[in-house]
């Protein structure tokens, strides 16, 4: 059965639908794989074999009863531990929520269940999704399956590692500043940030509300599209959710014809600070697109270089408010309640003990940016920069259908390498942040290995709001051309675990 873990989600779904294999068998194969590699990868925060198998058996029963489920019925998925799940703890990788069991399901969780996906467990992340390496988890570090001494990216590093390590064919992530695309890039898989509002934030523990976007991870573009379709779409519980049909991403992934498509190369995202091997693969990918019939032009978006500082004002500002609810009163950790201390003191002691370093840093930064006297210069100005960036995207999309760039300036960096240098860490999201600020769709698709370190490089494909299908069309075209060149998926190159 071990070859089950090498199959694509689409293949597994078809096998299960045809009754050739049961959801329980597929789940079991992945649970066995997890037992084997988790000690090294540590992608998960919570796994409960019995709960998972129960879910799988329930799906098998629904299928036997003739219930019409989607193409992923019975397929396992690893779920980022930032989505509320009724039957599993939900911690956002923070001590402050250790052991918390939500009395409700996130919309994304509920839709996974409705579509018959089997949740394998909850994956590790940077605490409250703040980070680019998953080293900020309060529980443990996750390792990159390509090289266990490297980070798997972040914040959705558990989800990227789980898929790259064949522990799950699919996983969920959230992307606030690149937290899906950057981990996908450094683990050699596909990661998609849908259009903001295209997938529901209800039940997703908020980091930065105006930026957070749930999205899929998979080992190939079609699988990502299937998962995207399974959980996205309008949700009346999320006021910022778009009440329009989901772009036809699966169709686009199945029809990777890009002849005549106009592709813009973002001039600002190359050059100094970019790893040579990353740029080499990126330039090859651009040439590949041209050889597939796309019209490639260079596009300048000068303010994109200011996206990073704008993001590090907007996201911390929102997080300083979003994380105020973790106060030891209604749920989660409570520290120092000895009967004499006031609520105020207990709140401050609990938050000091329960939040990690990066979280505290961002809360204070955001508190600063919003304080009277600083608001206009920091938060206010950052919001104006946000407008400028959106306008530059709009102008660019007048000329081109999609924009491309490297997903991240470097390949996976070493565990511990940037831990003490927040600013160096923040650079990992240099290219991904503009799409978050503008709410655009963006994908990372593997485009080869860097020569220096043999680690994966990702190509970022950005598309306008609600043109998510363009990312899938271009991503699938790149994937198809490269796989025929490589003779199979990039991940086949990964040193086996």
């Amino acid at each position: 059965m071990s070859d089950l873990i090498r199959k694509t989600a689409a293949e597994l779904g078809a096998l299960i639908a045809a009754g050739e294999v049961s959801a329980a068998e597929v789940a079991e194969a992945h649970l066995d794989r997890m037992a084997e590699v988790e000690p090294k990868v540590q992608a998960f925060l919570h796994v409960d074999r019995e709960t998972t198998l129960e879910q799988a058996r329930a799906v098998d029963a629904r299928l036997r009863a003739g219930e019409k489920l989607g193409p992923l019925a019975g397929v396992p998925v690893a779920h980022k531990d930032i989505f509320a799940t009724r039957d599993m703890p939900t911690t956002a990788a923070s001590k402050i929520l250790e052991g918390w069991r939500p009395p409700y399901d996130a919309t994304v969780t509920a839709r996974l269940r409705e579509a018959g996906l089997v949740i394998l467990g909850k994956t590790n992340l940077d605490e409250f999704a703040m980070g680019s390496s998953t080293e900020n988890s309060a529980y443990h570090v996750t390792h990159n399956p390509w090289d266990l001494s490297k980070v798997p990216g972040g914040s959705s590093g558990g989800s990227s590692a789980a898929v790259a390590a064949y522990e799950a064919p699919l996983s969920t992530g959230t992307d606030t500043g690149g937290s899906i695309r950057q981990p996908a890039s450094v683990t050699g898989i596909v990661g998609m940030k849908p259009t903001y509002g295209g997938s529901s934030r209800y039940g997703l523990i908020a980091f930065a509300s105006s930026l957070d976007t749930p999205g899929p991870f998979a080992r190939n573009v079609l699988d990502a599209a299937l998962l995207h379709e399974a959980f996205s779409g309008h949700d009346p519980m999320d006021s910022t959710s778009i009440d329009r049909p989901v772009p036809s991403v699966v169709e686009a992934a199945r029809n990777p014809d890009i002849a005549g498509m106009r592709v813009g190369v973002v001039k600002e995202f190359a050059g100094e600070g970019y790893q040579a091997g990353v740029l080499a693969r990126y330039h090859e990918a651009v040439q590949l697109l041209e050889s597939l019939g796309a019209k490639v032009v260079e596009v300048s978006c000068p303010s994109f270089t200011t996206a990073l500082p704008a993001y590090y004002l907007i996201a911390p500002s929102e997080c300083s408010s979003n994380l105020a609810r973790f106060d030891a009163m209604r749920y989660g950790l409570r520290v120092g309640d000895d009967g004499t201390r006031s609520a105020e003191e207990v709140m401050a002691l609990t938050r000091a003990a329960g939040f990690g370093d990066e979280v505290k840093r961002r809360i204070m930064l955001g508190t600063y940016a919003l304080s009277s006297g600083y608001y206009d210069a920091y938060y206010g100005q950052a919001q104006k920069v946000r407008t400028v960036i959106s306008r530059e995207f709009e102008a660019a999309y007048q000329q081109v259908d999609v924009l491309v760039s490297p997903t991240t300036p470097t390949t996976a960096f070493g565990i511990g390498e940037r831990a003490d240098d927040p600013i160096a860490m923040y650079l990992a999201d240099l290219c991904t942040i503009p799409s978050n600020l503008a709410g655009n769709a963006a994908m990372s698709v593997p485009c080869g290995l860097a020569d220096e370190d043999n680690l994966p490089v990702g190509l970022q494909i950005m598309a306008p709001v609600l043109a998510d299908d363009r990312c899938y069309r271009v991503g699938a075209a790149v994937e198809k051309a490269l796989e025929s060149r490589w003779g199979g998926p990039l991940l086949k190159e990964a040193p086996s675990l």
């Binding site: 006031s342 508190t367 919001q383 407008t387």
Partner: protein
């Protein structure tokens, strides 16, 4: 000239309800100073006449009908509470008056 003083960091910690030690205050003062200097780069974008964007997309008027939905049971509501008394959340004594 530093962008932020240690006293300001102490004030931020108080506003954010974070009980930080003196060492931590020093540590964050240094880091925040560097970060604030880096993010101050937003000022370089000429954006005087540009309207700020608080949201990613220009949606307006998203409302729900005034309809009652199922609430949680008190057991569910209180299930994660650190302390409970009489179906209420028990909290340490409250110092100030509400704002």
């Amino acid at each position: 000239m530093s962008a932020i003083t240690r006293d300001e960091v102490a004030h931020l910690a108080r506003l954010s309800r974070l009980a930080l030690t003196d060492d931590e205050l020093d540590h964050y003062a240094t880091q925040l100073d560097a970060i604030i200097e880096a993010v101050a780069k937003v000022a370089e974008v000429a954006a005087e006449d540009v309207p700020p964007s608080s949201h990613a997309l220009p949606l307006t008027n998203v409302f729900r009908a005034d309809e009652v939905r199922q609430s949680l049971t008190p057991e569910q509501a209180l299930s994660g509470a650190p302390a409970v008394e009489d179906d209420r959340f028990r909290v340490p004594r409250i110092l100030g008056e509400e704002a």
